[in-house]
Symmetry: C2
Subunit: 293 residues, 2 copies
Amino acid sequence: MIEKYFHEKIQKVNAFLYEQIKQKDAPDQLKESMLYSVQAGGKRLRPILLLATMEAFGRDADQGLPVACAIEMVHTYSLIHDDLPAMDDDDLRRGKPTNHKVFGEAMAVLAGDALLTLSFEVVADIKDRNISGQMKADLVTRLARAAGAEGMVGGQSSDLRAEGQTLLPEELENIHLHKTGKLLSFPVEAGALLAGANAGQIEVLSQFSGHLGLAFQIRDDILDVEGDTQRMGKSAGSDINKQKSTYPQLLTMAGAKQKLSYHLLEAKRCLHQLDIQYERLDEITDYIVDRNR
Amino acid sequence: MIEKYFHEKIQKVNAFLYEQIKQKDAPDQLKESMLYSVQAGGKRLRPILLLATMEAFGRDADQGLPVACAIEMVHTYSLIHDDLPAMDDDDLRRGKPTNHKVFGEAMAVLAGDALLTLSFEVVADIKDRNISGQMKADLVTRLARAAGAEGMVGGQSSDLRAEGQTLLPEELENIHLHKTGKLLSFPVEAGALLAGANAGQIEVLSQFSGHLGLAFQIRDDILDVEGDTQRMGKSAGSDINKQKSTYPQLLTMAGAKQKLSYHLLEAKRCLHQLDIQYERLDEITDYIVDRNR
């Protein structure tokens, strides 16, 4: 069962993740603020994608825990900064008050900065003789590219510029490829790298995760219209209220659902080309498309 | 002449630094915002400390350029976030409007995030056969520790909590050791590492840079009282206006100057113990103490 699999992996990810912050010799309030957002739930989708990819190559997923947790730190930092009054100005995240509502704006900026910084430390400081120095350097480089100006932050800045404008579908897709796609592709690629996959396999997995990322985002947009506030832990309809372009708005709801199916099928087509144990990745893909929050 | 030395190094640092940002495949406005703050001047003290340390060991300083520029990116990001309305709320920095005054708060948050992220990429992605993968991983780890919760960001969060309070001199020192000290120590240690220094030499240089960092901060506090706004490019007396504790305030001006002399002497005592060509580092130390902005 995928629920049991998720549950087990979440336990491991959380234990490692919290420990990385707790063991820091840092001011208490900063650590509390970092932990608050990291402990606010979340599906741990990115870490689990990494661990499942390693297992698809027959590897022990525990070897991937540091990098898996690093991605979750980057994801969490991006939510903290995104929620700031100067950005999306959100009061609720995963059903709880956002970081700046609890700790103040200044501390929220710093907690985000500290989580981003820690993510790179966790990868670079891996103590595992099976992971070479050059592999750690490669993973840091890839994580930075996925998270930075050419990746997530670039997507956020395009998104910012696009507010209040009606985009072409390809412009919206380009924003999402960067804003959410790069950070969903990274764990799949990193897991494959750690598992010793060859360049051809990594390329196909990269296509897989590209489609997966778009499916994820289209599902998110559909949920924003069809979901209810309580189950999602954030306000339904919040994208529309912020005058952000969404797939249902640009393509109609039926068009958005069609596009979701397309990316789901393409993701699976890529996955099934590979001579690996892809069943878990398959289930995770279905989970992403069927989720209701 | 130290001015000529600074001038030459600044040229090299700037060329490399700007190129790292310009070559990114990222949205124009994000790159403009990153470049704006990176190009807003500054003494490039941290990069020059790294380059001069390498030369003190008889090494070619050019090998250190990527790490030198990475530190400057971290320094610049910290200034952008520090100046935000939620933090220090400063309108002027180095005589020019602060980043958020020009690009808006949201873009300033993102430009800071992107610079921090890029700093780790630049170190991890060094293409130099003389620098091993493990060395790159070590440098990323050290940069993250200097910049993150245990370093600069930790110091900023303590500083935040201390506003409006009267601190003990040792509390103020502890804030500065983290807030400014760690990012001044890192280039000296990184330069020594890159130059192949032994553990004993790194330890002494670390003591040197600790005293140098405190001397730097005390000089800053003295300038805040004695300097004039035009020369400094920021408002004189701004620390007092923000009810921040300063050395002159806690120790009297005479006491602060005495403490400055003490750390200057200790820094030089450490430096002169080493069997290296320390003349440039000596001059840089004098420059830091004598500077008037």
